[in-house]
């Protein structure tokens, strides 16, 4: 954004020229062109399914375009991943692409092990990998297997791998999704430093503030089509969102819900588990309790241990069922007592993607749909259709495999399957991560409606505006403990972050 940055922008390094990509009959990209210059950070934005990831994969040679060409320095890029790597294009994936049982050094040098006389040269490997880590300013034991490292550290190793190849183009797909705000700041700073060194960077993110902080230009994709390319200086977040969504978005921020909390329904005392160090927590009927904190602070671990999804080492959890206090000893008992859980990894843990939406919705409700253990397809169909309508599934075809739907719609299915049980408590872990803007608003509406009907709601979110917007009260978790509790009127981004990061971090934000 500042003048000295734009002055370092050099010639076009990589260019996508009228790219069309079809999968079977479906058109993923329809004549998209972008060109990125050396020293520039270039943003790609769009809702899920807009074609960002497909374009990124085409730029990196993983997919071949159906029509159109990718040009590097004006020459067409052909020959898949290998050619793209040779041309200096490095990709940092959204899904972590590390080999868990290999060491840090091996992962950084993956595919480019230095050899001497046919054998791997350990010394060279250590040297190169160490240099790459140094370049991004991260210190870690090179011989540690990656499986033992935290998720955010893995993200940095991923970047170190890209940097180790001395790339000319660096493509990052949602690199901050798993990072804490401090780590995010660090990453953004690092990217700016790399760009100043002449690297062309393609940056894909849902988080508009990041884009406005570091990018020079932005391209908006929608439904596989190129909608607009603009200089960041000439646009605003609101304009971008309108272009991404392509319709007037009902602004849901700032809607204050009339909350009317009742009695405590879910109560946890002294919960301990790996990464959780003695937490007490109450959730009342009709109340939305938010759990804030940095990624890795132990929020997911806390709720998973509370519900018995993962084993807990200590503590007690009770739920009030029709006036009776019941212990939650295991996850199955939690579900039986009317606790619903929407997990963080929706594709892996939330849905059976190869089963129909109808089957997925029926799964927790099978007892009420069946008679004497015998299922009825017609009854199941009707049951699932009603719930799919309630959550606004689009298209509302419950016979389709749930894997055919976009992330936002899949999340609606996960919520729908619990609605049939009329849960007393619903726990949502990052309910809108990677979900497009439209679906996000609908999911927020559903959560509010549940609370209005008297359901006790517990939400984990790393998306601060979402957390502030939804929660009646926010507990901030730091280092496996509750660092502080903020009522709706005292909570803002600053107060949550300072609690989340602890004293030492307040100055840096």
């Amino acid at each position: 954004m500042s003048d000295d940055q734009s002055s370092t922008v050099g010639p076009v390094v990589i260019e996508a020229d009228s790219i069309v990509k079809r999968f079977g009959g479906a058109v993923a990209l329809d004549g998209v062109s972008v060109s990125v210059r050396a020293g520039e950070i270039y943003a790609l934005v769009g809702e899920n399914g807009a074609g960002k990831s497909t374009l990124m994969r085409i730029l990196a040679g993983i997919l071949a375009p159906t029509e159109g060409t990718v040009l590097v320095d004006g020459r067409p890029l052909e020959g898949g991943t290998r050619a793209a790597l040779d041309a200096g294009i490095a990709l940092v994936h959204q899904e972590l692409s590390l080999v868990p049982e290999m060491t840090v050094a091996e992962n950084i040098m993956l595919g480019a092990f230095p050899t001497r006389g046919g054998a791997i040269s350990r010394k060279e490997m250590q040297r190169y990998a160490g240099a790459a880590l140094e370049e991004i300013g991260v210190a870690i034991d090179l011989d540690e297997p990656v499986s033992r490292l935290s998720v955010s550290l893995r993200q940095f190793i991923e970047i170190a791998r890209a940097v180790a190849r001395k790339p000319r183009v660096l493509i990052l797909d949602e690199p901050t999704a798993t990072l804490t705000p401090a780590e995010t700041d660090y990453l953004l700073e690092m990217l700016q430093r790399l760009a100043r060194g002449g690297l062309a960077i393609v940056y894909i993110s849902h988080r508009l503030p990041e884009i406005f902080a570091i990018c020079e230009r932005v391209t908006v994709l929608r439904d596989g089509r190129h909608i607009d390319t603009a200089d960041i200086a000439d646009t605003t977040p609101d304009v971008l969102v309108d272009k991404m969504v392509g319709r007037e978005l009902k602004q849901d921020l700032g809607v204050v819900r009339e909350s009317n909390p009742g009695d405590v329904v879910l109560s946890a005392r002294g919960i301990t588990a790996p990464k959780v160090r003695g937490i007490d927590l109450d959730v009342r009927a009709g109340e939305i309790v938010g759990l804030g904190g940095l990624v890795g602070a132990g929020r997911s671990e806390l709720v998973r241990a509370m519900l018995g999804v993962d084993p807990r080492t200590g503590g007690d959890v009770t739920v009030v069922v029709d006036g009776q206090v019941r212990r939650v000893g295991s996850y199955t008992s939690a579900v039986r007592h009317g606790i619903a859980f929407v997990p963080e990894e929706r594709r892996q843990d939330g849905l059976a993607l190869s089963m129909s939406v109808s089957d997925n919705i029926a799964l927790p409700n099978r007892r009420s749909i069946s008679r004497a253990g015998v299922t009825s397809p017609a009854r199941q169909q009707a049951f699932a259709s009603t719930l799919a309508d309630t959550v606004g599934l689009r298209p509302p075809n419950v016979k389709r495999d749930s894997g055919d739907y976009s992330g936002g719609n899949q999340q609606k299915v996960v919520i729908a399957k619990w609605l049939g049980l009329r849960p007393r408590v619903i726990v949502l872990d990052e309910p809108t991560r990677g979900v497009d803007v439209g679906a996000k608003a609908e999911i927020h509406r559903l959560v509010r409606e549940l609370a209005d009907e008297g359901t006790a709601v517990l939400v984990i979110s790393s998306d601060l505006p979402e957390l502030l917007d939804l929660s009646d009260v926010i507990h901030v978790v730091r280092d496996g403990q509750i660092a502080g509790t903020l009522a709706r009127d005292e909570a803002d981004e600053r107060s949550v972050m300072s609690l989340a990061a602890g004293e030492s971090m307040v100055t840096s934000s």
């Binding site: 990196a60 993983i62 991943t81 290998r82 790597l85 990709l91 994936h93 899904e95 692409s97 590390l98 080999v99 868990p100 049982e101 290999m102 091996e106 993956l110 595919g111 480019a112 092990f113 050899t115 046919g118 054998a119 791997i120 300013g137 991260v138 210190a139 870690i140 034991d141 090179l142 011989d143 540690e144 297997p145 490292l149 935290s150 550290l153 940095f156 791998r161 401090a182 780590e183 660090y186 018995g308 993962d310 084993p311 009776q324 019941r326 212990r327 000893g329 295991s330 996850y331 199955t332 008992s333 039986r336 007592h337 030492s504 971090m505 840096s508």
Partner: protein, 347 residues
């Protein structure tokens, strides 16, 4: 530890020797295999010390089961399976007996191995079907071919003098089979730990998409792995045939299961990317010593099977991950019962 930028990143690099050693050991996968071997050796020492003086027998027993297991390990490390190894052993043996020239026979046998590996790899890599099924199909096909070619009868080798010679020790107690086994072990160990291609097998098994994205020629590695496995199995078939002085088309029924057992006990994970050739060697040693020990104590073959099955079952069930899983699922079930009974009591 803290970087200059104030972000908290994982553990510090190991500073002391002891620290380093502890970490290195923590990263090994052969732990349980070593423990089992130790138990077997100690029990043998107490119950039947003869096992140690009969080490040539043990060695050849280990080499018998172990050779195929070494090849199988390579495929399992890549996250694939080869159920056709036993049939490959048999077919290669039959092919070898088709000629009276031993050298030509060995070449035929190894050639069969190469062909089998290529066919397996073709279905896995090109057609894109799971290796479990592709090699299950090949299990039937190769067995069938062995029966067709041999007309269901054992084929004696023409050059019987060489075959008899082959079964005798060449250096000390070392028969050619043992020497070949040791050679195969050393070469594979070096290949998988020191060579670029071998090390990349772990990436293929540990995270295939990552390997592809990093530019590793995954398909080529898979072909290499399947061919290596089949060639080793074929080599084992040739050795069997030489030692028996005949090719037996109905032999080898336990080869698949026991070589599997050796790799699994050795800590090779069926999910791929985790384990080592050394582990398989130790696994094969444990099983071999157990079998020989039991035989020497006069235990019937049938009862030996019970022991081996028990050891294998114990090995998978005492895996730390298995124990954790068992604890949490038992808790679930117990709470389920308790919760249900209180529900009933109240309603």
């Amino acid at each position: 530890m803290s970087t200059p930028h104030g972000i908290n990143f994982g553990e510090a690099p190991a500073r002391t020797r002891v620290d380093q050693l502890r970490r290195t050991l923590g990263r090994r996968t052969e732990g349980r295999a070593v423990a089992l071997l130790a138990v077997v050796l100690v029990v043998a020492l107490v119950m039947e010390p003869l096992v140690f003086s009969a080490y040539p027998v043990t060695l050849s027993r280990v080499a018998l089961v172990g050779l195929v297991a070494l090849g199988l390990t390579v495929v399992i490390l890549m996250g694939e399976l080869d159920l056709s190894v036993a049939s490959t052993v048999v077919l290669a043996g039959v092919m070898m007996a088709q000629t009276d020239n031993v050298a030509l026979g060995v070449l035929l046998a190894l050639g069969t191995g190469v062909a089998v590996g290529l066919v397996n790899a073709f279905f896995v890599v090109k057609v894109g079907i799971n290796s479990f099924i592709a090699t299950l199909g090949m299990l039937f096909v190769l067995k069938g071919l062995a029966i067709v070619i041999s007309r269901s009868e054992p084929i004696p080798l023409e050059n019987i003098t060489f075959a008899i010679q082959f079964g005798l020790p060449i250096v000390g107690p070392l028969t050619p089979r043992i020497v070949i086994f040791v050679l195969a072990f050393v070469l594979l160990h070096l290949f998988l730990t020191r060579m670029r291609a071998g090390r990349e097998f772990y990436a293929v098994g540990g995270n295939r998409q990552a390997a592809r994205d990093a530019g590793i020629p995954v398909d080529r590695r898979l072909v290499t792995g399947f061919v290596m496995c089949s060639v080793i199995a074929a080599g084992a078939g040739a050795i069997d045939t030489l030692e028996r002085t005949a090719a037996d088309p109905t032999a080898g029924s336990t080869v698949l299961l026991s070589s599997f057992a050796a790799a699994i006990i050795g800590g090779v994970a069926l999910t791929g990317g985790r384990g080592s050739i050394l582990g398989t060697l130790i696994g094969a040693f444990s099983l071999g010593t157990l079998e020989v020990g039991l035989t020497l104590t006069g235990v019937q073959v049938d009862i030996q099977q019970i022991y081996i099955g028990g050891v294998l079952l114990l090995a998978v069930m005492t895996d730390p991950a298995s124990l954790r899983a068992a604890r949490s699922s038992l808790r679930t079930s117990l709470h389920g019962v308790r919760a249900r009974s209180t529900d009933r009591g109240l309603t």
